[in-house]
Symmetry: C2
Subunit: 514 residues, 2 copies
């Protein structure tokens, strides 16, 4: 079996990976508290993971909200369910005032999860299961511990949302317990915002935020979502790529035609679609649409400094993924994801398997456009459609009727996804960014990677725009957590580190926040 990336690249890294075995001044009492309470921490986590959490399951999603309210109230946090005027799952809101604090931080996580295909799971997605190692390396099921200090750091808990994104909720609250046990207190006013429809597209969130803007006023948001770096080192992320997506359909004749009798005469929608895609991007990922890059915000010197903290894991990743080369002449992953990407996610035309000698009636491609600041989904959509029009295509937004077919050639239909995110980025030199980097570094006693932008997309722009607050992402999950897939899991050491990280953030120097 191929060694995982984090082992393969250990030799590439000059700095030391986080090890719980090397206590540092800040984390020692936090770790000690956690070690003494592992059994009860894991029970609380298991109970939360056991509640099915599809945003569309309105009964179950509110059971999650109620459970989180109870978890907050056990810690003396004032709670409230925030409803959106348009419906949808509630956000769980909590508030913990700190005497004398002048700054307020909002801690964000989401409690809803991706849909599941139970047949693909080794154990049921909502029956949290502890294993003494990763499933794919033979990890065995073990019971939840009943005594302190009996787990291993490589143990994993398997359940939907174990990593994405219920773990931060538990970590944030256990961090409060640990701080108190250590005789410390938060240094800032804390607000909690636990989102109930992140995986469902946040259709109701913007209205909810505007409705409750006064309540949610703060000096900055800490978004806890996503994985740590592939090297297992902690990272602080200042932005995310946005996204918009589309299904493009090219139309040919209304019935499949014999490729011999009609080939070279009847339009071939599969060839049309291939040509249109090739007009959008080349094999190296270069986007060929004129004007596409106009809104790309240049990196600042601080962004570039941050980028230099990101370890180069490309060679190890290539080995793991069976790639001799990557796009753009092997340019570095961390740099490439700071640029827009055009991803062809699927292509479909004609039958799978044995070839029919037929020209297909239509061809479809699913494409996503990953955006960076200040690209806006609406502009990208207009740009792509205008580009198609200039190439002689007839742009449609529904299947063509017979009148349309009779009068227009080269029909190309664009079904844009309902939601899109613009890219979002907080300047790496913003006071909030510096304060969070320092808090996490000090808490863990190890340098953190500063990532100017994450390749994936989170709805952070909704919060940044609705509330005009700076926003930093602090991911805590292991990178191999099977996010969105079957056998999602959280490595226990990542949970233990997360408790330390949030203890650091909750007690970070108030003065450093603007």
């Amino acid at each position: 079996m191929r060694p995982p990336v984090h082992l393969a690249i250990a030799c590439l890294l000059s700095s030391t990976a986080v090890q719980a075995q090397q206590p540092v001044p800040f984390r020692a009492p936090i770790d000690a508290y956690r070690r003494a309470h592992e059994a009860e921490i894991l029970r609380e986590f298991r109970d939360l993971l056991a509640i099915p959490n599809l945003a569309s399951d309105s009964i179950a999603i509110r059971r999650n909200a109620a459970a989180i309210v109870a978890m907050l109230e056990r810690r003396g946090v004032t709670t409230r369910l925030l409803e959106s005027p348009g419906g949808g799952p509630p956000a769980v809101y909590g508030e913990l005032r700190t005497a004398g604090a002048t700054r307020t931080i909002v801690l964000y996580a989401h409690y809803d999860g991706q849909p599941v295909e139970p047949a693909r799971w080794a154990t049921p997605p909502w029956e949290p299961t502890l294993r003494d190692g990763p499933l794919e390396r033979g990890g065995n099921v073990v019971p939840l511990p009943s005594a302190a200090g009996t787990t291993g750091p490589e143990w994993r808990i398997y359940a939907r949302s174990a990593s994405d994104d219920k773990a931060p909720i538990v970590a944030m609250l256990v961090a409060l317990d640990a701080l108190r046990a250590a005789g410390r207190a938060p240094s800032v006013n804390l607000k909690f915002y636990f989102d109930g429809e992140e995986e469902a597209g946040n259709a109701h969130t913007s209205a909810l935020l505007r409705q409750h803007a006064a309540l949610l006023a703060s000096d900055g948001w800490i978004f806890a979502d996503g994985p740590v770096h592939q090297s297992r080192r902690p990272q602080v992320v200042f932005g995310v790529r946005g996204v918009t997506d589309v299904v493009i359909t090219a139309y040919g004749a209304t019935r499949a035609l014999h490729s011999g009798h009609y080939g070279n005469w009847a339009p071939n929608p599969a060839a049309v679609l291939a040509n249109f895609i090739a007009s959008l991007r080349d094999v190296d990922g270069r986007i060929l649409v004129p004007g596409y890059m106009d809104d790309v915000r240049p990196l600042t010197a601080a962004d570039r400094r941050a980028l230099r903290t990101v370890p180069n894991v490309d060679a190890a990743l290539c080995r793991e993924l069976g790639l001799a080369a990557t796009e753009a002449n092997n340019a570095m992953l961390a740099e490439r994801i700071m640029q827009p990407a055009l991803n062809v996610r699927s292509l479909h035309a004609g039958p799978l398997g044995a070839a029919a000698n037929a020209i297909p009636t239509e061809a479809t491609a699913s494409i996503d456009f990953r955006l960076v600041p200040d690209q806006r989904p609406e502009r990208i959509r207009r740009l792509i459609e205008a580009y198609a029009t200039r190439q002689g295509y007839t742009v449609l937004h529904a299947a063509p009727d017979s009148a349309m077919r009779a009068t227009h050639g080269r029909l190309l239909r664009f079904d844009w996804g309902a939601e899109g995110y613009p890219g979002q980025r907080t300047r790496a030199d913003m006071p909030l960014a510096r304060a969070v980097v320092r808090a996490v570094t000090d808490a863990l006693g190890a340098p953190v990677i500063e990532v100017p932008i994450l390749g994936g997309s989170l709805p952070t722009y909704l919060f940044a725009e609705a509330l005009a607050a700076p926003l930093v992402v602090v991911p805590i999950a292991n990178h191999d957590n099977n996010q969105h897939a079957s056998n999602e899991n959280l490595r226990l050491q990542n949970l233990w580190d997360a408790i330390v990280v949030f203890a650091g953030i909750e007690s970070m120097k108030g003065a450093t926040v603007p």
Copy 2:
């Protein structure tokens, strides 16, 4: 509902369409015989259609051969099964000497059929079903007639191989019966060659023909396969496009990668494949591979004269097919199929339906190349692969192993179909060509369309090359017969006309054959 092409274009045609209701001297007794025996003709046809006929089903295919042997022997034809030295289905051979005849004609049809997807059929493919009209215009199932003259000309029989290609076998033999009943006799020595692996690629046919070349000696072959013209007028065809096909696979990473976290870095095989296809041909069907057209044989004056007999049905076809425009600026179908075509038959990458945010691991396209004389499949294959190599792709003929992946980028795999046909064309001014045109015209009492080349591919070159004999194609099926697809059918009037056509050919003037 849209009127079918043959009605829509009636006004475009200067000559009269074939109508059974207008008996002419030759066809009157043939039609009379057929009308009196419709019930038994259809029973014999039904019994043949009821035998499953996939070439790879060696038991069933030999049941077909045995049934055809019995049909021939009922008519006093000497029969033999011809086996290929390399195995495969037998060809059914028959011989009927005509006293005093000095010329010999071989009549060809094939008795194997395309694979079926029973779930897509309205009635099971090997349960021949008569309907009183086309399925898509509400034709109802009717029982086989038990009395003479009770069917309608627009009735259709639905079964695999009803049109492709068992109907000619029945028509050729009933034509013999009808000639005899009319007191006429064949004018030439007749040989019958019924092919058992046409739809499976004729892998064993060349060896079979060379093995039995002496037995198969003749003055010319009449190939009965394919549909009549879309106008429903009869056509005689002097050539066919050849074909070679390939499945091309582009490879990305060994596992699907999140399109956000890795998009713009990891190679996207779907985009690579689209770019490669776009480098092969444009949206107008123009083939962009340098040197591709070098071997295209120019048309002769006779070919051009023949081409002028082909009615222009393009406008009506476009209406039927929901097309406002066709490739190459609406150039005429009959002219376009005289040129090579590159058809994308399928595209597949990533999941169908709901989009995963993932870069697929591979992408495949199935493509066929329709060739014209004197293009050879081997040269086309070399040309395409060399073109890929020049573009920087690594050309493979099997899935890449990890060593290949680790050392080579841009992997493109070519799985060429086992068999390919070169294009084949008999000169329109050859004596055989003129004799067949005259015989069919005289038999039907209506002018025939002379088609220099058929868009589809038949293995005629195997026969033309192995036996050095001229070869003319006489198709008899309705154009809307759903050949190769579900609900394949034959229109009864096409069967009735076919009996007249073969009676004309079987009794054509021996002296006109060279």
